[in-house]
């Protein structure tokens, strides 16, 4: 099979087309818009049998996606950044309905200040909602993740909506060779949606969105959703093996790269992990035993697989492309919490914040992170969390501030 050059957005659209969706509520936002535009063109050309409606905001878009899914049809929608946050009320609400659909989020950093370029604060804001999350690092993965997401979310042991995340610009607008499964292959993996009891049907009325007071019923339903999410871990592994049989492509909830004999490991999400792999290869040539661990599945959090990958490592450099204001890196906190009780936990976790608002992380910076982590492991002293930011950048920033007439409380 010959690969096709596709952008991340194009790959997402291809996946959606292969999934044979029935309904697409949409609302434009950069850098996502290309996905809905591509799908719109296919619908217009009669190549996709699907209804598409542009709504008046993401709030109504996510609502429409949830309600359509609750009627038992296959639904897709996409957004980014401010759009995901604007629809956040409904993200929680529709997750509780247990009506599965797929939402592609093309990561873009949040206001303020305003930007168009990516980091992960947008998608991580949906972390606790009940949506499952698959994070991609290549365009191939984006296409495959869309198909996996439908299988996963629709599985009767799960029944939850899924966010597939790709980084704006670095993936959304970058062309990479992608193998596109044939219609037949896709259909073998993903049968038409059987919504089971989830439907709105004349003659069989159901009542949804019922209020519960007193806490007991509320606790029950929230915990049920949590258990369904946890259940999705084994289902994910199961369907990945099936996908591998059909396409030959191997996916696991956690990707490990050169980790077996590694002493130092990078731990991170998303497309910058491909740069980390490059750094790993370079560092290996210098004799340093380095590897990479990257969760693909972020919700549910694949704790056991991560613990296995990191067992007995000397040090982990956690690269957070997000910032929880007043706390630090979100991934660092998540990782710490699962390792605390583990006997074979790594000696040190070093926290780095990088790639905010689309700032690049250079290979040299990966070298530096490895160096700092080695030092921490040897000395047993964990350094303070560090923002990846160069002296040149700071000097440029100071220059801009002097033009603007610096009135901000600087440091």
């Amino acid at each position: 099979m010959k690969p096709t050059l596709l952008t991340g957005n194009g790959a997402a659209a291809r996946g959606v087309r292969l999934a044979g969706i029935d309904y697409l509520p949409a609302f434009p936002i950069t850098p996502q818009t290309e996905i809905i535009e591509t799908l719109a063109q296919w619908i217009q050309a009669g190549e996709m049998d699907c209804r598409m409606v542009t709504m008046d905001s993401e709030h109504s878009m996510i609502t429409a996606a949830g309600t359509a899914a609750a009627t038992g049809v296959r639904v897709f929608t996409a957004t980014s950044s401010q759009g995901l946050l604007y629809g956040m009320e409904m993200i929680y609400t529709v997750a509780g309905w247990r009506a599965p659909f797929v939402l592609v989020n093309v990561s873009r950093a949040l206001s303020s200040p305003i930007t168009l370029e990516p980091d992960h604060n947008d998608v991580l804001a949906a972390r606790d909602s009940g949506f499952l999350q698959i994070h991609c690092s290549t365009c191939q993965e984006v296409l495959d993740a869309v198909l996996l997401a439908y299988r996963l979310g629709e599985d009767e042991r799960v029944r939850l909506p899924v966010i597939v995340n790709l980084d704006g610009y670095y993936l959304s607008f970058t062309r990479e060779p992608v193998l596109i499964p044939s219609r037949k292959e896709a259909a073998r993996f993903l049968a038409p949606y059987d919504p089971g009891e989830t439907h709105f049907r004349a003659g069989d009325p159901v009542s949804q969105g019922v209020a519960v007071l007193g806490g007991s019923q509320y606790s029950y339903f929230r915990y049920e959703t949590h258990l369904a999410s946890i259940q999705a871990l084994s289902v994910f592994n199961e369907i990945c093996r099936e996908y591998e049989k059909i396409t030959g492509r191997v996916y696991e909830a956690v990707e490990g790269y050169r980790t077996t004999d590694a002493e130092i490991v990078f731990f991170m999400l998303g497309s910058f992990a491909t740069k980390a792999k490059d750094a790993v290869d370079h560092l290996r040539k210098t004799g340093l035993k380095v590897g990479l661990v990257r969760p693909r599945l972020f919700r549910p959090f694949p704790a056991q697989a991560i613990i296995r990958h990191l067992a007995d490592k000397k040090g982990v450099a956690v690269v957070d492309q997000n910032l929880s204001q007043g706390k630090g890196g979100i991934l660092h906190a998540e990782l710490s919490s699962i390792l605390y009780n583990e006997e074979r936990r790594p000696c040190v976790l070093v926290s780095f914040i990088g790639g905010l608002g689309g700032r690049d992380i250079s290979v040299e910076e990966f070298f530096e992170m490895a160096r700092v982590t080695v030092q921490a492991a040897e000395s047993g002293k964990t350094p303070a969390p560090r923002l990846l930011y160069t002296h040149e950048e700071l000097a440029r920033m100071r220059g801009l501030q002097s033009i603007a007439g610096n009135r901000s409380p600087g440091h």
Partner: protein
């Protein structure tokens, strides 16, 4: 004349920092910017007392170019930012620039409620009948039957009239202008800024790039000509029959009424609470 234009530009624009601007050649938003700074200059308003807030979109970029207090906010929320500023500091002149999508789709609720409350704000709505910035998707003002990237077979929804919506929602001053009728536009904006209470100036603007090209008006001149041929002044419209008015739109002042603004009423309550005498 040239000296005058240069004087205004240097006084009100961030001419040495922010240009060239991002708009397409021939875009009508630049004409709106010109009208706005002429109106402000004519009123002799102090730059320090002026605030210009905008949402997100091609129209939302406008505050980047002017040299007074500016705020580039989030899509749809510009009026709520302005509300906060005005209520905390009523002595400021607060202007709000929005696109048609900004003001009537994702931010539609804020718009009707700001008008209903009759906040003492000036809303300048740049109506190019499309989502310009994101690639030409239909907006709530895209005309029935016209083409956009999301209505390739012709739009099947009906459009809002922004000005009529403002009138029925309770705004004190509502006017409509176009980027073709520029001297009139200067005056409409100027009157809107002066007015106590919520004032709305809807400005019909050419987005030939995203709207025009899909609707047989691919250049600014054709779109200007369309504005020229389809706009009727409110005075003339009164004398025309519904038949004659079909397909046309009116320009000029649609409403100019006096009623207490929210800002004044609120001040009265404060004064009363402090035991001061209330001016009637």
């Amino acid at each position: 004349m040239i000296a005058e234009i240069t004087r205004i530009r240097h006084k009100y624009l961030r001419h040495d920092k922010k240009f060239p601007h991002v708009w397409c050649p021939g875009c009508g938003i630049g004409i709106v910017l010109g009208s706005l700074i002429r109106a402000i200059d004519g009123l002799g308003l102090a730059k320090n007392d002026l605030v210009l807030a905008s949402g997100i979109g091609c129209s939302g970029r406008l505050p980047a170019y002017v040299d007074f207090n500016t705020l580039h906010t989030t899509h749809g929320r510009a009026l709520t930012f302005s509300t906060g500023i005005k209520l905390a500091n009523p002595s400021l002149n607060v202007l709000t620039v929005m696109g048609d999508g900004d003001a009537t789709a994702i931010g539609g609720n804020h718009f009707i409620h700001a008008a209903r409350r009759n906040l003492n704000l000036t809303a300048i709505i740049i109506n190019n009948q499309i989502y310009g910035m994101t690639g030409g998707q239909y907006s709530p003002t895209t005309p029935y039957g016209s083409n956009s990237t999301t209505s390739p077979y012709g739009h099947i929804e009906h459009a809002f009239s922004i000005a009529d919506l403002a009138v029925t929602s309770g705004a004190s001053y509502v006017a409509r202008g176009t980027v073709y009728h520029v001297p009139a536009l200067d005056k409409l904006i100027s009157r809107g800024i002066e007015k106590e209470g919520f004032s709305v100036i809807e400005i019909m603007t050419n987005c030939h790039t995203q709207y025009g090209r899909r609707n047989e008006m691919s250049d600014p001149v054709t779109m200007m000509k369309w504005f020229k041929d389809h706009a009727v002044t409110t005075t003339r419209a009164k004398k025309m029959s519904p038949e004659e008015l079909k397909g046309k739109f009116s320009i000029g002042v649609l409403t100019d009424i006096d009623k207490p603004s929210y800002t004044e009423e609120y001040q009265k309550i404060r004064d009363r609470a402090k035991g001061r005498e209330v001016k009637s």
